[in-house]
C-alpha cells in the first residue's frame, strides 16, 4: 500500500468521510463549550508513517497529545494533537472560568482534555461506521503533555506496530477569533488500511 496513489473517487469519498467526522467533531466541541464553532473543510491526506514525526515536530512548543487505540473492525491507533495555549483556552471555556485562568494541567484539566480527545476521535469513528459500515471502538484515552520531540519519543514504539501509512486530518476550527484547529492522526494497521480503502470503494460503487 505504501506510496499507492488514491483514485480521484477514493479521495473524494475520503474527503466526504472526513467532512462528516469533522462536522460531528465541531458539533461535539460546540456543545461541550457552549460556543459556536466554525469549521472549514478539513484537509485529509494519507502520509507515509515516517512523515508522522515531522507533522508532530512542526509544533515547536508544548503540545497535548491524546492517544488511544482503536479496536473492532478497524485496528488502529489515533493521536489528537493540540498546542498547549489552545488547550488552556478550551479548558477555561469548558470550566466556565475567566479566560487566561488555566495555566497548568491539574487532574480535572487532564481529565477534560482526554475526554475532548475521546469525543473528537469517537466522532470520526461514528462517521466511519455510518459512512462505510466499519464499526470500531476506542480504548480509554491516554494523555501526554510535553514538547513535540518528547511526544515523538513516547509514541515511537507504537508507530512500529502500525501499517506503513497514516491518515492525517487537519481540522480548521475557530471560535469567534480564536483558532481551535486540531491535528488528528489515524494510524491503521496494514490490514485495516486495506479494509478502509476497500469499504470506500464499495461505498463509491454503491452510491
Amino acid at each position: 500500500m505504501q506510496n499507492e496513489k488514491l483514485s480521484d473517487s477514493q479521495r473524494d469519498a475520503l474527503k466526504e468521510l472526513s467532512n462528516i467526522g469533522a462536522g460531528s467533531a465541531a458539533t461535539a466541541l460546540s456543545q461541550l463549550l457552549g460556543k459556536d464553532i466554525k469549521l472549514n473543510v478539513p484537509e485529509v491526506t494519507i502520509i507515509p508513517i515516517e512523515k508522522v514525526n515531522e507533522k508532530i515536530a512542526k509544533h515547536q512548543q508544548i503540545i497535548a497529545a491524546v492517544y488511544l487505540r482503536i479496536y473492532g473492525e478497524i485496528q488502529a491507533r489515533a493521536l489528537l494533537i493540540l498546542p498547549q495555549d489552545k488547550i488552556f483556552y478550551i479548558i477555561d471555556l469548558l470550566t466556565k472560568k475567566k479566560l487566561g485562568t488555566t495555566k497548568e494541567f491539574g487532574e480535572i484539566e487532564q481529565s477534560a482534555i482526554k475526554e475532548i480527545g475521546n469525543i473528537i476521535i469517537s466522532s470520526y469513528l461514528n462517521a466511519l461506521a455510518k459512512f462505510i459500515g466499519l464499526n470500531s471502538v476506542p480504548s480509554v484515552p491516554a494523555l501526554a503533555v510535553d514538547m513535540a520531540d518528547a511526544i515523538i519519543q513516547t509514541i515511537s514504539a507504537e508507530l512500529a506496530e502500525v501499517g506503513p501509512d497514516a491518515f492525517l486530518i487537519e481540522n480548521e476550527m475557530t471560535e469567534e477569533e480564536n483558532d481551535l484547529s486540531t491535528t488528528l492522526l489515524i494510524l491503521p494497521e496494514m490490514a485495516s488500511m486495506k479494509k478502509i480503502l476497500k469499504a470506500l470503494n464499495d461505498t463509491i460503487k454503491g452510491s
Binding site: A28, Q31, L32, E107, I108, S111, A112, K114, E115, N118, I119, S122, S123, L125, N126, A129, K130, N135, V137, P138, S139, V140
Partner: protein, 121 residues
C-alpha cells in the same frame, strides 16, 4: 426523597459535569466509580435508583458492567453515557439491559429528560 444515583466514568471531568446537572435537579450522587470493576462493587453496596455508566472504562467495559449488574439486579435502571454513538453498540447496550443511551457530549435538557423518563423526580 431524592433519588440515589451512581456514576461510573473513567473521566473525573465527565462525572463532575453530570454531577453539576443532576444535583441541582434534586438527585443525590451516592457514589462515583472510575472503572467498571469499582462500578459493579459500588452498585452492589449502594443499590442506587439510577446508574449512569460510561461504555469504555478500564478493567471492565460498560456493556459487561450492565450485564453483570442486570444478572444480580434485573430491575436496575441503567443508562449508558458514551461518546460512541454507533447504532450496533447502542443496540448491544439496550439488549444487555440498559434502559437508555446518552451520546456525549450531552446537554443538560437531554440528560434530565432521559433520566426523568426512567426514574422521575
Amino acid at each position: 426523597m431524592s433519588k440515589k444515583v451512581l456514576l461510573a466514568d473513567d473521566a473525573s471531568f465527565m462525572r463532575m459535569m453530570l454531577k453539576n446537572i443532576l444535583e441541582p435537579a434534586g438527585y443525590q450522587i451516592v457514589g462515583e466509580a472510575s472503572n467498571g470493576r469499582e462500578a459493579i462493587e459500588l452498585y452492589r453496596k449502594l443499590k442506587p435508583d439510577l446508574f449512569i455508566t460510561d461504555m469504555i472504562m478500564p478493567e471492565v467495559g460498560g456493556i459487561d458492567v450492565v450485564k453483570e449488574v442486570i444478572k444480580e439486579f434485573p430491575n436496575a435502571n441503567i443508562i449508558i453515557c458514551s461518546a460512541i454513538g454507533q447504532q450496533t453498540l447502542v443496540i448491544e447496550a439496550i439488549q444487555a439491559g440498559a434502559k437508555d443511551y446518552i451520546v456525549k457530549p450531552f446537554d443538560q435538557a437531554n440528560v434530565l429528560e432521559t433520566i426523568n423518563k426512567i426514574v422521575g423526580t
